[in-house]
Amino acid sequence: MSNAKARSIVEFDELDRAIINRLQDGFPLASNPFDVVAAELGCSAPALINRLQRLIATGAATRFGPFFDAEALGGAFCLCAMAVPQDRFDAVTQTVNDRPEVAHNYERDHELNMWFVLATETPEEITRVANGIEEETGIQVLRFPKLEEYFIGFKVMA
């Protein structure tokens, strides 16, 4: 796990920061896991739970729980890119986003200006959906499946 220093744009006190930093490293699989973490942080378990509720309620944290490796769950995934003409951008966005297999889609600053991830049950479905988008839009869908992952872990220091 490695650290990146963030310049916070919301106000946290020292305990909030300690909680954000500590809980990115992992959470114990034990009967009273908050006791374990609270002891490390020098606060009480109810105080920790209370802070955590607030961090989630204010949007400072987006999620607390298990992170699943989607591929280990058996699905197929593929990053795709298209060069969409500006005057057709909204219509093509609609066509692409209408597919439930499109998990997320970003406009990027490049000739290849639309980047989306296809998530399906099988690799065959990736081909079917990408071909379908090509037929519907007349625009080539470049496919960039993951060949190797160099995952270490990212941590934002609050």
Partner: protein, 163 residues
């Protein structure tokens, strides 16, 4: 989904939105799906050992923490060196999602993708220079693609997930 038995699937369904913020979160999940707390802890530990659960943790909001700029840096790296260099880049503090992907010639000569986060584009550019220095002559050319807009973003789902 074939890799999971029904209990695993129930457990994943019960936890994918997050853990209950309760003093005994695993006991609360156990009540929901009719297992004992001990069974829930053991099953979660087994899923973690299999790599299906990467970790149990808090996901901070990068934007609210001030990390507002992100650039997808892409690199055309010598095929014989890319795995080793990719691992070194993936280990850097400001890099998430570092992958080797196929090129799409002639329009796309890049085979290494590294998402770089920073508080602004100047910071992302400085990090990009660091990556460039690390890759050295093994990298023939590079580019960076900044996101302009999120067009669609769906949450974590059992069958449809981020890749």
């Amino acid at each position: 989904m074939t890799l999971l038995d029904p209990t695993n699937r129930e457990l994943i369904a019960a936890t994918e939105a997050g853990l209950p913020l309760d003093a005994q979160p695993y006991a609360r999940i156990a009540e929901q799906i009719g297992l004992s707390e001990r069974e829930v802890i053991e099953q979660l530990a087994a899923l973690k050992a299999r790599g299906i659960i990467r970790r149990i943790a808090l996901a901070p909001n990068h934007y609210l923490l001030g990390m507002t700029a992100n650039g997808m840096t892409v690199w055309d790296v010598d095929d014989t060196l890319v795995s080793d260099l990719g691992r070194r880049i993936g280990a850097l503090p400001f890099v998430t999602h570092c992958y080797r992907r196929p090129r799409a010639m002639p329009v796309w000569p890049f085979n290494l993708f590294a998402m770089v986060h920073g508080s602004d584009r100047t910071e992302v550019e400085a990090k990009r220079q660091e990556l460039s220095a690390l890759l050295g002559p093994a990298c023939r050319q590079s580019d960076v693609l900044y996101s302009k807009r999120i067009l669609k973003k769906t949450g974590l789902r059992l069958s449809r997930n981020e890749g």
